[in-house]
């Protein structure tokens, strides 16, 4: 390649690279640096202390919060995987017309482009004390008292996660399914496989990359979430994100930063494990 052409290439990629440098690398580096800083009630003081990490890792609250967050992530992951796979499977293999396929696929993705905060608020009329769920159950005579656990509980948090993030599973899994050569399915049938056997032994393994991508999205989002936990649990549940937000609101920036570093390491570790299953560049 000529020198001039190489320059053009670098110029073309420069805006993107610059944004990542200024607003991803430098801020993450700042977090790492600040996590070693000292602080008092009014300001942060440059220093090199391990105290923030010590306080964090020696506190049982931290461990409980991390455990709770991982639990949320696992439950959400399992639910979104099963639901997302089933939905994608229906659209990819049972809908015959490509136009209908596109329309149904869009129907699943449109909520992604609307506000998460609003979509959480929209559960209030359903789950509230006098909400639709309680009124219906009481009218049917199934319960006498309104169920209190519907809104502001772990249940509501997981429900909101599934509601918000299942489409992160649907899209990559659907993408994987549409690439499966249909003659493989015929071959499986000709070889005597039942529908279930085809699903388990042919389709499922070929969807692995899609499943991995969807899982990475869902798990990383839930691990770093704080707004869903705060809104849907009404402050009753904890999450790592919420713990950081609380430290921030008390102006304990170095403490929040130390927590952020630990969270980042954990998330990167999980993602690295899942990336082993998939080469993302091949999936585009």
């Amino acid at each position: 390649m000529s020198r001039a052409k190489l320059w053009v290439t670098y110029l073309q990629v420069a805006p993107l690279a610059l944004v990542f440098l200024l607003f991803l690398i430098v801020p993450i580096a700042t977090i790492v640096v600040v996590s070693f800083f000292d602080y008092n009630t009014t300001q942060i003081i440059p220093a090199f202390l391990l105290q923030n990490y010590e306080e964090l890792l020696l506190s049982p609250v931290t461990w409980r919060t991390y455990l709770q967050t991982v639990e949320f992530a696992l439950i959400t992951w399992a639910l979104t995987l099963v639901i997302g796979f089933t939905v994608a499977y229906f659209v990819a293999f049972y809908v015959r017309s490509p136009t209908v396929q596109t329309v149904l696929f869009l129907l699943c993705t449109i909520p992604f482009w609307t506000s998460n905060v609003i979509r959480m608020i929209s559960w209030i009329p359903f789950l509230g004390r006098n909400g639709l769920a309680n009124t219906t159950l009481m009218n049917m005579g199934l319960i006498k008292q309104p169920l209190e656990f519907l809104l502001y509980s772990d249940f509501a948090v997981v429900l909101a996660y599934v509601h918000l993030y299942t489409l992160f599973m649907v899209v990559p899994i659907f993408n994987s399914m549409m690439r499966i050569d249909r003659s493989l399915l015929e071959a499986a049938r000709d070889a005597g496989a039942s529908g279930w056997q085809t699903l388990l032994n042919v389709i499922l393994p070929l969807c692995k990359p899609g499943i991995a991508i969807g899982s990475i999205f869902v798990v990383t989002i839930v691990m770093g979430d704080f707004v869903t936990v705060r809104m849907m649990s009404g402050g009753l549940s904890a999450s790592v994100g919420l713990m950081m937000a609380n430290a921030m609101s008390l102006l304990q920036y170095p403490a929040a930063a130390a927590n952020a570093v630990i969270l980042l390491l954990l998330v990167l570790f999980i993602v690295a494990a899942m990336m082993r299953m998939v080469d993302i560049r091949k999936e585009l």
């Binding site: 073309q12 200024l22 229906f90 608020i121 770093g224």
Partner: protein
């Protein structure tokens, strides 16, 4: 599976799909209905009459903070994010077609930008500005924070698009004597226009709805999601739903514009497509 009559599994899976769609859209439809609640109505059913009371309420400044201002800020920020996302993603997409030193690094940065939790980006940029003694503002720090979320989507879409792009169009254009700029302007961009609109859709809507990345980066003036979030803690009237209806309405309008223009472009292309074999 593909042939013959629909079996039981089709109907079961179809029912599951319908339930899923109901689950996706049901709550939003409910607040849409409830936002037209009468003046004495509450946050849940039943409806006490039908009125536009809560929408009027929304635009009275003293009632609910600064709705109009935050809406305006979010629209401007969304438009700016959209513009930069389309241009930077397209241009990076062009660059990635040739192998260059550092391409792997940039690619993995984009992936990292997607998987690093939003709150860490928000926190990092907030801290950075604090350490430097700068004031965060929605048009500087929040703008950058939003780009770290929209650009990876834009780049990945451009990868997918260029993987399917037939380079012979460019070669033909060059053979006919076009400069590289003319080729991009008159050949590549028109062919990729539907995808560029798609990237723009991501750019606008993701920025317009972004909460976590705005949290510590927006500074003094709230963007719309921050404003809505603030309201959830102190507003207990259907004005909250009116806000939801207006916000979702804007999102749907943007999505509709994008989808309609993409469909229109496709149709037009099908009509005026190739004139091969039509010569007299």
């Amino acid at each position: 599976m593909q042939h013959g009559k629909r079996g039981l599994s089709f109907w079961l899976l179809g029912a599951f799909f319908c339930l899923f769609v109901l689950f996706l859209y049901g709550p939003t439809l409910t607040i849409l209905i409830l936002s037209f609640q009468g003046p004495s109505g509450g946050l849940t059913f039943p409806m006490n009459g039908v009125s536009l009371h809560w929408f009027k309420n929304l635009f009275e400044k003293q009632m609910v903070g600064d709705f109009a201002g935050s809406l305006q800020r979010s629209m401007i920020l969304g438009a700016a994010t959209m513009l930069v996302t389309v241009v930077a993603s397209f241009s990076a997409g062009l660059a990635f077609r040739t192998r260059f030193r550092g391409s792997g690094v940039v690619f993995y940065l984009a992936i990292a930008s997607l998987i690093v939790p939003s709150i860490l980006i928000s926190l990092g940029i907030g801290l950075l500005f604090r350490v430097l003694g700068w004031d965060p503002a929605w048009y500087t720090s929040a703008f950058g924070a939003h780009l770290t979320w929209t650009l990876p989507f834009g780049l990945l879409i451009m990868f997918a698009v260029f993987n399917r792009f037939d380079r012979r169009y460019e070669e033909a254009s060059r053979d006919l004597g076009a400069t590289s700029w003319q080729t991009i302007r008159h050949v590549v961009i028109p062919i990729l226009l539907p995808s560029l609109i798609g990237v723009g859709l991501f750019g606008f809507t993701l920025s317009y709805d972004e909460f976590a990345r705005s949290l510590y980066t927006a500074g003094t003036f709230n963007t719309l999601p921050l404003e809505i979030y603030g309201m959830t803690t102190n507003v207990t009237t259907p004005v909250l739903y009116a806000l939801g209806t207006v916000t979702t309405g804007v999102s749907f309008a943007v999505i509709a514009i994008a989808l309609v223009s993409v469909t229109w472009l496709r149709r037009r292309r099908a009509r005026h497509g190739s004139d091969a074999g039509k010569a007299a």
